[in-house]
Each structure stands twice: as C-alpha cells, then as structure tokens.
Amino acid sequence: MKKFAGFLCLALVFVLGFGVVNAADEAWWQAAAAPYAGTTIRGVSESTPPSNYVKDVLAPQFTALTGINVEFETTSWDQMYDKAIKDMEAGTGIYDFVYIEQDIIYSYLARDFLVNISAALAAKPELASPEFSMDDFTTFLDYFKNADGDVFGIPMEAFIKVYLYRTDLFEDAAIQEAYRAEFGTDLVPATTHEEYTQIAQFFTAYAEANGLELWGTTVQAASGHPASFYEFFESVAPTFGVYNWGINTENWKATVANGGEMNSDAAKAALTWWLNNLQFAPPESTSSTWDEVAASFAAGRAAQGLVYGENAAWIATDPDRSRVVGNVGVALPPLAAGVLEAAEAGDGYIGYYDGGAFGLPITSKNQDAALLWLQFIGLPEVQADWAVAGSRVTQQATFDEPAVIAADEATNGYYTMFKEQGYLFAGAPAFPFHAQVREVVAPFIYRAIAGELSPADALDQAAAAADAELVNLGYGS
C-alpha cells in the first residue's frame, strides 16, 4: 500500500513539475548546484515510510531541481548501521549521507565520523540556502549538536513512545460499569503503574470471560532482540525515575556499589513490574519487537500498551493494516510519584523521544552536493506531506499544517501531545558506547524475560557486566 502511495506521489511530482520551491528560490538552487550537476550522491537508510518517502518523492524532486542524482539504499535495521560504520571506519567514502538514529549520534561524534554542518555552511555561504534555517526545527535538533551547539545531522524523523489505549473499550458503558463494580474507581487511562496493571488484569480477565482474543497490555519483550532492552531501559525504567540506563554519567558506573543505579531498588521494581505485565499480555509478547507490538495492538489484541509514535497514525487510520481504526486514544505513560514533576523541572524524563537524522560522513567525496541535499530535505515546504506519509514531525511549523491537524484528530491528539508535552520525553542518553553496553546488558534482560533469572539477579549481573565492559572500552577505571 505504501509503495502505491509512493507511486502516486511520484506521479504527482511529475504533473506539478517541481512546484515545491518557488521561482526565485528555484533559480538559487540551480545556480548553487550548477557546479555539481550530474554528480551522484549516495545514502543509506532503513526501509521505513519516512525513508521511503525520501527515496520515492524527495530525491526525484531534488534531482529535477538541481541535476544532482540521489541514490538511496534502503536496507534492514542491522545492516544500516553496519554498512555505514564499516564505510566510515574504513574511510571508503561510499556514502555521502547516512541515517543517524538519535541513539548512535554520540558514538559517531566521539569518533569524528561526521561533518560539522553548521561550520560547513558558514564556511561556504554560496551553498547555504536562504530558505533553510536551523531555527525551524523542533528541539529534537538539539540531539544532533555537539557541546558547542554545532549541528551534525538534519532531523528527518521524530516520534515519542506513547501510551495507546482502546477508546472503544475504555468508553464502553458496560465495561466501565463492571470495572467500577470491581475496583470502585472509574476506568480511565492509568497514571500510575498500579492502575496500569489493574487495568491490564481487568481486561485479560474480561476477555477470558467473554471468549475474546484480547489481553490487557502489550509488552515489547522479544527475548532475543534488543527491542526488549529498549522498552525496559528507555520507556519503563525512566517512569520509575531510573534514567540513562542507570549508568552514572560522572564516573561511567552502573552498579549501585560504584555509584550507578542499574541495579537500584527502583530499577528492580521497574523490571519486576514490567515482567509482571507479561501475564496480562498476548502470548506473542515474548517474540514481539517494536513492529510486532504495533501489529498486535492494530489487530485489536491489546487494550493498552506502550507503542512507538510512528505507528500511532497508521494504527488509528489505515484500515488495510489495522482493526482498531478510530478507536485509538493516547496518553502519557503511567508514572511513579515525583517523576512527572522532575521531568517538568528538566531533571528527568518520562519516556523515549525517538528519531533520526541524515548526516554527512567526513569520508564523503561529494560533500558540497550532499550539503545542498541535506538542506533540501530540511526545507519547510517539504515537511507537511512527509509528516503525513511517515507520521513524523521535525519542525515546529509542521504541527500547524492542515494535514497534520487532520491526523491529530484521527489519533485523538497524538500530535498535540507530541507538540506540547514532547519536552517531557528524551532521547537515548549521550553514550558513545551505546551499542557496546547494550549488547552486554541485553542478554540479562532476555534471560529475565525467559524466567531464567529473577529481575533482581538479572539487573545485578547486568550492572556488573556493564561496569566491566565500560572499563574494557576505556570509560571510567
């Protein structure tokens, strides 16, 4: 379906010519790109809707405007990193732009893999488009800056991981009645962990009594895939007040004994709560990665769950993929006492702000042409349709586009929440060793899911392993 949409958009582009950029600017782009016409720039990304929109719609527009060809390799999630890293580490210069997920940027910065885009544009004013401005972006841009505030990546997608619930179930009079009879309180989206579990338990029992294929909650607990690590450390642990994976960023230690929090009581309570939810989750949960959680929810198999925001729009609107069209509500994740206040004060966060950007590898041989391209995808004009095609928003003004407002209504306020409360969420911690420590810690989470380790043991061992690995990598001592 999305491929078809891509074709339609493509056809539209050809019919309208390159109507995105107005006449005066068109002249600027042609003049600026003149020295590079005919060159080809290459990039790599994952095959997701926002990236496919870039490949199918924006790249042809850019080529029509500037004469610079764009080749775009879409690949799987693992491969995308591996290929970009190999290219940059070996200095082969295959790619002129690479997808940088928010969580890997610190690793790339630590190794000086990326071109400083701010500095490059300042140094070459003839390449700096008058239409392009870093100020147009949401605060998500901050994740792609170094300590001096220079930008190293142009955001291309951003989401928050929200609490989705089924409005048709939560607003059903009979169900509300039954819930009130059982617990003495109204059935509303949970604000605390206890309420969340209670609702999950209630719906699981309700479904069992009525012979429904429905469970109380999703859990992204794939027992052999980092998705479960991420759900726990980036979406669940923060709601218990455990931030940065429980790693102390002063001395790079994870164990409580050394000043970390990975095996703190709060972290253990978080893991216990999260794993406890598995009994109220559909049986596929221990095989579910991020996309399968969304698919379970879309299939109507869960009453509530934490779901990545990029899926919110299609779950709420696309009848080809979803059984719960029009029945999706969004809320902030359930929180422990004090966490919301801390997040509002800027001392913490309540969930995961996810997304990615395109960066320019220092090894690229076509840096000037790539700079033009990166500005092009950052133009305000191209944002609205892209936002709808990929349910992503990276610029402040995009929230006011009619198409986005319509999507906001369909999702019962996902974009409003994103706009107004997005600041409460945060991206992955600023670790240059992101994937390395994740790989060391994740197996303990997998084993806790499989029941081989108790939550407390899993986190004790994970924290000890993280301490050892960090020393091994040269962080702390």
């Binding site: 990193y81 580490e89 895939h225």
Partner: protein
C-alpha cells in the same frame, strides 16, 4: 606424458580465487585477532594485544556456552537427519508409482533461502499468528511459546534444521544406496540373512563412506548456522539458541568488537577444522583400505 605444469595450470584458477576471497581474509582475521579493536572504544583504532583475546576467550562463559549449544544443536539435528534420511532413502530404492513426485517435493526445502526458511518458521511459530501454537493449544492443550521457553526454542531450531536439510541427506544416501552392488545383498539374502543382519553387516559397511561424507558436510554447515536461527529466534529466549555463529555476529556487528570477534572466529574455525579433519581421516582411511 602428463606434465606437472599442465596440472598446476589447471588447478591455478581455483587456487587463485580461493586464495583471494578465502585465504587473504583469513590471514587478515588472524592478524586482527591479536589486536584490541572496537570501533567505539575510547581509544580508537587497533592496539596490539598479543594473545590477550585468546586468553580472555578461554574463560569467556558466554562464548563457551555458545560453543556448547552449537555442538548440542549440531549433534541432535545431524543425527536425526541421518536416521530420517536413511529411512526415507531406503524406501526410495524400490520403484513405485508416484516416487518421482515424492522426491521432487522432498527436494523443495533445499531450494529455499536460509533467511526465508527462518522467516517461514517464525511465521509458523509466533503465538497469536502462527498455526503451530494455535493447534498445539487447541488439540493438545499445550502451551507453546517460542519466545518464552528455552526448550521450545531449541527444539524448534532443531526441527527447522531437520526440515531444511533432511532432503539433502536423503538424496546423498539414496545415491549411495543405488550404486551399491545388488549382487552382494542378493547373495546375503539367499544365505538367509535377516533384515537386521543385512543392514548391519552389508548395507552399513558399504554405505559408511557416504554416511561419513554426508556427516562431514552437515556438521560443517551446522556448526556455522546463522541466517535461519537469526530470523527465527535471534538467539533467544535468553541465550538458549545463541549458537556460536550468532554470538560472533552479535560481537562483530552491533558491538563492533572486531578484535575479539576475530579471535573468536579463529578459535571456532580451528575447532571446526579439527572435528572435520578427524572425520576426513576416517573417510580416506576407509577409501584406501577398500
């Protein structure tokens, strides 16, 4: 009449290609194995570490566990394939209507890409979507969860491998059985040998080289399995199906620990060669003693 030069000339293209795409990379991996090289460690680039990586490996319980799991997986799946393959091949030695249909269908799994095999089996076994958990629950009340229970995942990977590779074993054993001299079997039968005796004293010894060759190939490929299991379980639940190929993959790809991963690969390759060499020696001995 046969000049050695012509011989070497005929062999040269093969050796050159294998040298370039096989041996050079091996040398490089061997070299890297003596260095600390993680792309994202604080100290970038390679630093010489001597045999430290190997010293670490010997005490690395994760790695040793992966090796043990791989051996267990390979032993169980290859032996099952051998038994099943022999049974099926034996039944194909006689002609009967429909034989070629059965044989063609039986060959199908061999033709499917390993990642597709993994994907198909994932689709079969995911609870909530796949028929396997659904029918196991409905017919037998059995709670099958591949993402939850280590045994279920292990057995499923074994069954998948059996499904995928038994046809190969059937075909090689069938080839062996069909080229067996009929006179010997007939003579033994005339002498009053019963089925078991026929199998034990005639078929098995004659088939031994074929069996060993098949074993060799299956063990070699079983020890380096990645794609199918990667798609099916990703090594989970926990580390229950984290076979050595997957373990190395995780160390080398997401963790970008090139130095340690290289040492691990060299050691694994060494184990594999030793196991295969022992098998190979027994094959050649059998041949030269014929």
């Amino acid at each position: 009449m046969r000049s050695k030069r012509t011989g070497w000339l005929l062999l040269a293209p093969t050796l050159i290609i294998l040298f370039i795409v096989g041996f050079l990379p091996f040398l490089y991996v061997l070299y890297v194995g003596f260095f600390d090289w993680n792309v994202f460690s604080q100290e970038a680039g390679m630093t010489f570490a001597g045999v430290n990586n190997y010293r670490r490996l010997v005490f690395d319980t994760d790695f040793l566990n992966a090796v043990w799991l791989t051996l267990r997986f390979t032993a169980v799946s290859v032996l099952s394939q051998l038994v099943l393959g022999f049974l099926l091949a034996q039944l194909l030695t006689r002609d009967f209507p429909g034989k070629s249909f059965f044989r063609i269908v039986h060959t199908l799994p061999l033709m499917i890409a390993p990642i597709v095999v993994g994907a198909i089996w994932r689709l079969l076994t995911i609870p909530g979507l796949g028929p396997v958990p659904y029918f196991l629950d409905r017919w037998f009340g059995f709670d099958y969860r591949i993402g939850q229970f280590a045994d279920h995942a292990f057995i499923t990977t074994v069954l998948m491998d059996i499904w995928h590779w038994t046809p190969f074993v059937t075909l090689t054993l069938l080839a062996g059985l069909t080229t067996m001299p009929i006179e010997v079997t007939e003579a033994a039968r005339v002498d009053g040998a019963n089925r078991w005796q026929l199998f034990r004293y005639i078929t098995l010894p004659l088939l031994r080289p074929v069996i060993l060759t098949t074993l060799f190939i299956r063990i070699m490929d079983g020890l380096r399995i990645v794609d199918e299991v990667w798609m099916l379980t990703g090594g989970g639940p926990g580390t229950a199906t984290r076979y050595v190929g997957i373990h190395i993959w995780r160390v080398v790809f997401p963790k970008t620990d090139y130095g340690y991963g290289s040492a691990m690969s060299i050691l694994t390759l060494y184990f594999t060669i030793v196991i295969c060499w022992l098998l190979y020696v027994s094959i050649s001995q059998k041949r030269s003693s014929d």
